[in-house]
Amino acid sequence: MPVRKFTPTRTLEQNQLVDRLAAEWQSVGSTASEPVIIEEPDSKGDVIHVYVVWTDWAQLDREKRGDVIMEAAERVKPMNEVLKITIAFGLTPDEADRFNLKWR
């Protein structure tokens, strides 16, 4: 049997974050305190900015947090809506407060 190399593109931790964020995004009427997902529409009502406030990704750098948000968005939103998102900003609660994001 030929030996094939498996090269994961993301860490297990990132995969778990994508799973959990997508599940939360889809759950209507969730009472979980985090992650908090804020969708900001433009003047036409299209969501173009997404902010996610979450303690659990404190150890992940901001670039990777953006990847996690977009991969979760690809699971929960139609593709034409995903393509309109230009900003995916992942923050911890402390960072969100520092940036004066109204998330509470």
Partner: protein
């Protein structure tokens, strides 16, 4: 405030990146004059990366105060959907960023003019990409003057022309 804390508290914006691209380019020129060729090429690659990132994000209609890192995930997702033939890469990959510029222009119905597309391919994809990657920081590459001059000429093109990519 220590630099680490400052950078964490105030992530870089598109306009910060433009200033930094010019700074790294000038520092690379200084290193070239001092015959520090590895360091020169290392800094030139970062300059090229920053000008390409700015071009991509401006093509996404993002303004100068937008935080760069928050815009890169959506760009990668956009490329995944609209240009699946382009291999996904990290955001230091100059060939990926050049492909993103070309795809964004096509998507807007105004492909890069042939002379510009040809130069982008020649300077970045065929010129800088094979000779630069961030991992070069971990070793002595032993680059020669000719390598550094080639990188300088290719990056100079991007410095002069990044706005024509938008």
């Amino acid at each position: 405030m220590p630099l680490r804390n400052f950078i964490k508290a105030y992530p870089e914006s598109i306009s910060d990146m433009l200033v930094a691209a010019d700074d790294r380019y000038q520092e690379a020129e200084e290193l070239l004059l001092q015959h520090k060729f590895d360091g020169c090429v290392y800094l030139l690659g970062y300059s090229a990366e920053m000008w390409l990132k700015v071009a991509c994000l401006r093509l996404r209609s993002l303004g100068p105060n937008v935080q760069v890192k928050a815009a890169l995930g959506p760009l990668k997702s956009w490329m995944r959907q609209t240009a699946p033939q382009v291999p996904q890469a990290d955001f230091h990959d100059l060939a990926f960023l050049a492909a993103a510029v070309a795809q964004l222009r096509i998507h807007q119905g105004r492909p890069l003019p042939l002379p510009v597309a040809t130069e982008l391919q020649s300077r970045v994809v065929n010129g800088l990409y094979p000779e630069w990657l961030v991992d070069m920081r971990y070793r002595r590459s032993g680059l020669a003057a000719v390598d550094a001059w080639a990188a300088l000429v290719n990056t100079w093109w991007l410095k002069q022309n990044w706005m024509s990519l938008i």
